[in-house]
């Protein structure tokens, strides 16, 4: 059956096109029957036939039938054109008049039916409900009514000017009649517009594509208007060229939209890069506007230069508007991107842009396990948002960023323009942090080396020297003994000072035996009672160093200011984080902003990628809490 239908319609289309071409070749000049128009119209009819049949076959009967109706109306238009030029040209009877007015009004119905297809597709995808059906009925119904009214009441142009309209209508009514029909061109975009914001996940790529398709007729109408102005009003374009542009602009929507509908509703959802198509379409629309404005300018101004300058000025004015429209439409058509934009707007990146971006993407993409990886400079590999080194994996989202744990990689494309600047900031911040950590590490290594040299070299020599002096002392008279005693005591003091100096900020004990041993040694020398709860486990050297410094500074502070009786120091390690708490029962009222010591400490902690909070303890005292990432 389908094969027969296809053959029949194909035959009709090719036959009628042949008739029109023959008439044109025989010297009958009629703008609308220019060969390019007839050929395009025939191709459109065949394409829409194919699309309609395909839709019906794949189960989309409703939309398929409407696309077939579009095909039918195109065929009617084509046949009536052939009949008008083949019969109506030679005869002067009611039949001839009928085919001529049928041809003259033939363009009205397919335009309306195409919009009905969009609306029905929206209904079919569940994006609009009963309102959609009513809209389809209104658009389709008015299209038919206007076609009939046009046949009866609108005058037919040359070369058929001898055929008078059956009904006399006032001038105003003739102007008003087409307006609702023209407005109908916006039915498809309106439905898509309304539907997109509430598109369900599965329907979204289809809905996006239909939205983009629905904009095509709008664009071509602009082109039609423009070509009309240029060819007939401003005389910047030959009438023949204007007609050719009109022909393409009239047929393109049927070609593009029927095939596109078939694709959008087909068994395989279209790819997610519809946003890019949208951007191209909006750009095309704006180009048309620029050309239109420059055309009007050109008709008013004389000379090439003013026209060129005027065009450039218009383009410059419209460029930001275009960018904003693309973004506005993208936000509207892509709920993920809209969510991302909202989150970015309310987010405060603060000092951890990487974690902020990761959190935004997790929320926007609804992927709680998503990980943002950032590349460090100088081939230093990749790190997570928390700064922990990891191997390179996941989906690339820029030169220095990757995402791991994406459910649908296509979704990210929409988010990237929104989070791009934040990601760049995160990469920079991570590089700075890495640099700081490297410097810190180098300094710490250098210190350790120095300390070892002092202990094993100078200190030992001094000790041996002091021992020798003490022994020599015994062999000498009282006067010499006195001198030597002074010398030996001086040496002992020097040894003590050296030990204190070498102990410095990273005592040897810390690097060799770990935090517990070092803190035990440190707190053992303090006059206040100190409880330690430190696990035996070793942590990465930078973490141990920072934790040790925190305790040193905190305990010193407590001893100096707090008048505390007890200090409790506890460290727990879980989930790659070390949590250190220093609690005292002193006076409290410590403020992070007050003391430079604490502030410096807080900076050290931040450099290590951690955070520090100082608060009052209950009933009195101070609690200092530090969280450090430790992989």
């Amino acid at each position: 059956m389908n094969r027969w239908a296809r053959a029949a319609v194909g035959g009709i289309v090719v036959g009628t096109a042949g008739v029109v071409m023959a008439a044109w070749a025989s010297g009958f000049r009629y703008g609308g029957s220019a060969p390019v128009f007839v050929v395009l119209l025939a191709v459109s009819a065949l394409v829409s036939l194919e699309a309609g049949l395909g839709l019906v076959r794949s189960g989309e009967r409703m939309v398929g039938r409407w696309v077939l109706a579009v095909c039918g109306s195109l065929v009617v238009y084509l046949v009536s054109t052939a009949a008008a030029v083949g019969y109506g040209r030679w005869n002067d009877d009611p039949a001839a008049s009928f085919v001529v007015v049928l041809h003259a009004a033939g363009y009205i119905v397919p335009v309306a039916l195409l919009q009905v297809c969009f609306v029905i597709a929206g209904v079919r995808l569940g994006l609009v409900g009963a309102a959609g059906r009513r809209l389809a009925a209104a658009v389709g119904g008015y299209g038919l009514a206007f076609a009939v009214a046009g046949m009866l009441a609108l005058p037919v142009g040359p070369p058929f000017a001898h055929i008078q309209p059956v009904l006399e209508v006032p001038e105003g009514a003739a102007m008003v009649l087409p307006l609702p029909w023209m407005a109908g061109v916006f039915a498809g975009p309106a439905v898509a517009w309304r539907a997109l914001s509430r598109a369900r996940r599965g329907a979204r790529p289809r809905a996006l594509m239909i939205a983009v398709l629905a904009l095509t007729p709008v664009a071509t109408i602009l082109v039609c208007v423009l070509a009309g102005f240029m060819a007939f009003a401003f005389d910047v374009m030959s009438v023949g060229l204007g007609e050719a542009v009109l022909a393409v602009a009239f047929c393109a929507p049927f070609l593009v939209c029927t095939a596109g509908l078939r694709r959008a509703l087909g068994p395989k959802p279209p790819p997610g890069d519809v946003t890019r198509v949208l951007s191209v379409l909006v750009t095309a629309l704006f180009s048309i506007v620029v050309v239109a404005v420059s055309t009007i300018l050109g008709s008013g101004l004389s000379g090439v230069l003013p026209v060129v300058l005027g065009t450039l000025a218009v383009a410059a004015v419209l460029a930001p508007l275009r960018r904003r429209s693309v973004r506005f439409l993208s936000l509207r058509t892509d709920p993920v991107r809209a969510r991302t934009a909202r989150l970015v707007r309310v987010a405060e990146a603060g000092t951890r842009p990487a974690e902020t971006v990761q959190e935004i993407l997790r929320t926007a993409l609804d992927a709680p396990d998503l990980l943002l990886l950032l590349r460090l400079p100088d081939e230093r590999g990749w790190v997570t948002a928390e700064g922990v080194p990891v191997p390179e994996e996941g989906v690339e989202t820029g030169p220095s960023a990757r995402l791991v744990g994406l459910q649908d990689a296509a979704d990210v494309d929409g988010c990237l323009p929104e989070v791009g600047p934040l990601i760049e900031r995160a990469v920079l911040e991570m590089a700075v942090r890495d640099q700081a950590a490297r410097v810190e590490e180098a300094v710490s290594e250098e210190r350790k080396r120095l300390e070892r040299d002092l202990h094993d070299g100078v200190q030992g020599r001094l000790l041996a020297l002091a021992l020798d002096l003490k022994m020599a002392q015994r062999e000498l008279d009282a006067q010499a003994q006195l001198v030597l005693t002074d010398a030996a005591e001086g040496l002992a003091t020097a040894i003590d000072e050296l030990r204190a100096l070498a102990g410095g900020t990273t005592p040897d004990l810390l690097s060799r035996r770990g935090l517990k041993a070092a803190l035990t040694d440190l707190t053992g020398r303090m006059p206040t009672r100190i409880h330690l709860e430190i696990p035996e486990q070793r942590l990465p050297a930078p973490v141990e160093t920072v934790a040790y410094l925190v305790v040193c500074e905190a305990v010193t502070n407590v001893l100096k200011h707090a008048e505390a009786e007890q200090i409790a120091i506890a460290l727990t390690v879980s989930d790659g984080r070390a949590a250190l708490t220093v609690r005292d029962d002193g006076r409290g009222g410590t403020d992070l902003r007050a003391g430079t010591g604490l502030r410096g400490l807080s900076e050290r902690v931040r450099t290590a990628g951690g955070s520090m909070v100082v608060s009052d303890a209950r009933p009195h005292g101070t609690v200092l809490e530090v969280i450090l990432p430790c992989g």
């Binding site: 202990h455 040694d521 020398r525």
Partner: protein, 225 residues
Amino acid sequence: MRVAIAEDLVLLRQSIARLLTQNGMEVVAETGDAAGLIDAVVAHRPDLVIADVRMPPTFTDEGAKAALLLRDRFPAIAVVMLSHIVEPALAMRLAADRPARFGYLLKDRVLDLDDFVAVVRRVAAGGTAVDRQVIDHYLVGSGLSPREREVLGLLAQGLSNLAIARSLVVSERTVDSHLASIFVKIGLPQDADHNRRVRAALLWLRGTGASTDVPPGGGNLPSQA
């Protein structure tokens, strides 16, 4: 008395050797690392070994490991460990289980020539010597009176009652009565044997006295193999 010295700083090693020789001891071996020490002990069977905790090649705790090994293999040999920093946990681990014939001192203590020689003699004679910084560390928060802390600290360092009395400038009877009250207070059995009392004091300090080092209820020590 025959002594072996393991210390990687040659100057210091020679000075200590000279000091001991001047005090009538015989230094039978001097080495600069742990392996050399064990060889020397096997070859010379000294009465006492003086070893640095930290020696080549890694400068971590080779000396301490060698000392543990020697104490296991040759229980009769006395060991005095020298360390350039105080590591209370390590010292206590070494001392508390088998205080007899063991000493742990900060290196600087060699400068108190007479004290150092006395400590070496005391350890060689079967006694104990733990650096006072180690003991102080464990005495913090022990709940005793300052005087009692002093007495217990000196006892834990390995001093005899007489030596404690001299150190505090009191009579030996006073020290006796202090010790008796301390032992009652902290619930340890009064023992006539000095070494066992030292050990009890060390164990108590390690287990109860200072909360800084041991998990709650950790008074029961695993023996050092």
